[in-house]
């Protein structure tokens, strides 16, 4: 148990600034940002057994996804416009480099909208169940499940369009 607390303290020390900038980018309010981070820390404590190393990119993305989710919750509560269809712009990335990586599926996942990408990352990268994802994202189990299904369909369509065929 003490190890877990040490781990959460380490995570907080390591990612506090990133958490701040991520949340502030969405909320544009100091107090809301700090609220989101505190809520994210509480959630991270609940899932601390899923975190093996504080210093890994897996942990970093997990923490940032929790912060994003909490920031979204706050936006919902404040009735702000949700950036649900936000997509990452990969246009500036070197496509040749990505093809060299030979992982069109990874690129397609990263290009999904926030909701779908978050569900897939939590499910397949963090190994969480749909129930657990629902508790982090504040959505219903059914909604999380449907989002995952939609994401998979979209990935299949995207890959077919790119000529990769169904994997």
């Amino acid at each position: 148990m003490d190890d877990n607390l040490k781990l959460i303290e380490e995570i907080y020390e390591k990612y506090r600034s990133l958490m701040y900038f991520k949340a502030f980018d969405m909320l544009h309010s100091q107090s809301d940002t700090e609220d989101a981070i505190q809520e994210a820390l509480l959630t991270a404590m609940r899932f601390i057994d899923r975190i093996d190393q504080p210093d890994s990119r897996r942990t970093k993305s997990f923490i940032l996804m929790i912060v994003e989710s909490k920031a979204l919750d706050i936006m919902r509560r404040r009735r702000r416009i949700l950036p649900l269809n936000e997509e990452i712009n990969f246009e500036n990335r070197d496509i040749q480099d990505l093809s060299a990586e030979k992982d069109a599926l990874a690129l397609a996942i990263a290009s999904l909208n926030f909701d779908m990408r978050r569900v897939l990352l939590l499910k397949y990268d963090m190994g969480l169940s749909y129930d657990e994802i629902a508790s982090i994202t504040g959505k219903s189990l059914f909604s999380v499940y449907k989002t995952a299904q939609r994401a998979k369909k979209q990935l299949a369509a995207a890959l077919e369009k790119e000529g990769c065929g169904i994997l």
Partner: protein, 231 residues
């Protein structure tokens, strides 16, 4: 449709791509408010405190469960049950019968604590043979042995064979009456000038007898405590 195996294979790279795409200032210190710093530290400390409390609580629960299990093992074992039968014989005397289910945990040595002893009596002899313990009290003026002895015998009825009849007295002068020893039914028996009180308590067959007055014998019996001795 995309399958789980492919997703598992590509998800790490997808996560890295996503992380790389984030335009977050690495290494730049966030301008947290002093209140936030204080509250977050308190939050983390409180979690530590909560965890130590929950750890203490868990330890208490475990200890309680272990105690319960021990108590269950000791107390919840089926105790044997025995009943005392008594009949006056037609041609004099009486028959004592003990009907025992022969169950119950094996018990250790028997100890007694006489809450009352007639004046001048002290323990002069004690022995245990098999499941029967004998305590002999002698009067200070007639030590070591005399007709004035007060005898207490305790027989552990655990594993006692069921339905054994013990023919006690064949004396025409035998008489008996019912006495209550705490919550147990017992008999006060006279056989000549020797008086007996017999009863079954906690699956022990207890006899108190001697050449004493009825009041003394009955009071000795009523104040006698029998227990399982640790020694």
């Amino acid at each position: 449709m995309i399958n789980d195996r492919d997703l598992n294979k590509s998800i790490g790279k997808a996560r890295d791509l996503w992380l790389d795409s984030l335009d977050l200032p690495e290494g730049k210190e966030a301008p947290f408010s002093p209140e936030f710093e204080k509250n977050t530290l308190r939050l983390l400390k409180r979690s530590r405190f909560k965890h130590s409390l929950s750890r203490m609580f868990t330890a208490c629960i475990i200890v309680a469960l272990m105690l319960s299990a021990t108590l269950y093992t000791v107390l919840a074992q089926p105790k044997g049950k025995s009943t005392l039968g008594f009949t006056l014989n037609e041609n004099g005397g009486c028959t004592i019968s003990i009907d025992s289910d022969g169950k119950g945990p094996m018990r250790g040595n028997v100890g007694i604590e006489p809450g009352f002893l007639p004046e001048g009596y002290t323990l002069v002899y004690h022995s245990t043979i098999s499941n029967k313990s004998i305590f002999l009290y002698g009067h200070k003026n007639n030590l070591p042995y005399s007709y004035m002895n007060l005898n207490i015998t305790v027989t552990d009825l655990s594993n006692y064979k069921a339905n054994q009849n013990i023919e006690y007295f064949k004396n025409e002068s035998t008489d008996a009456e019912f006495v209550k020893i705490r919550d147990c039914a017992g008999y006060y028996i006279t056989n000549g000038s020797c008086k007996y009180v017999i009863w079954i308590e906690d699956n022990y067959f207890i006899q108190v007898y001697g050449y004493l007055a009825k009041e003394e014998i009955v009071k000795t019996a009523q104040n006698l405590i029998v227990y399982e001795s640790k020694k």
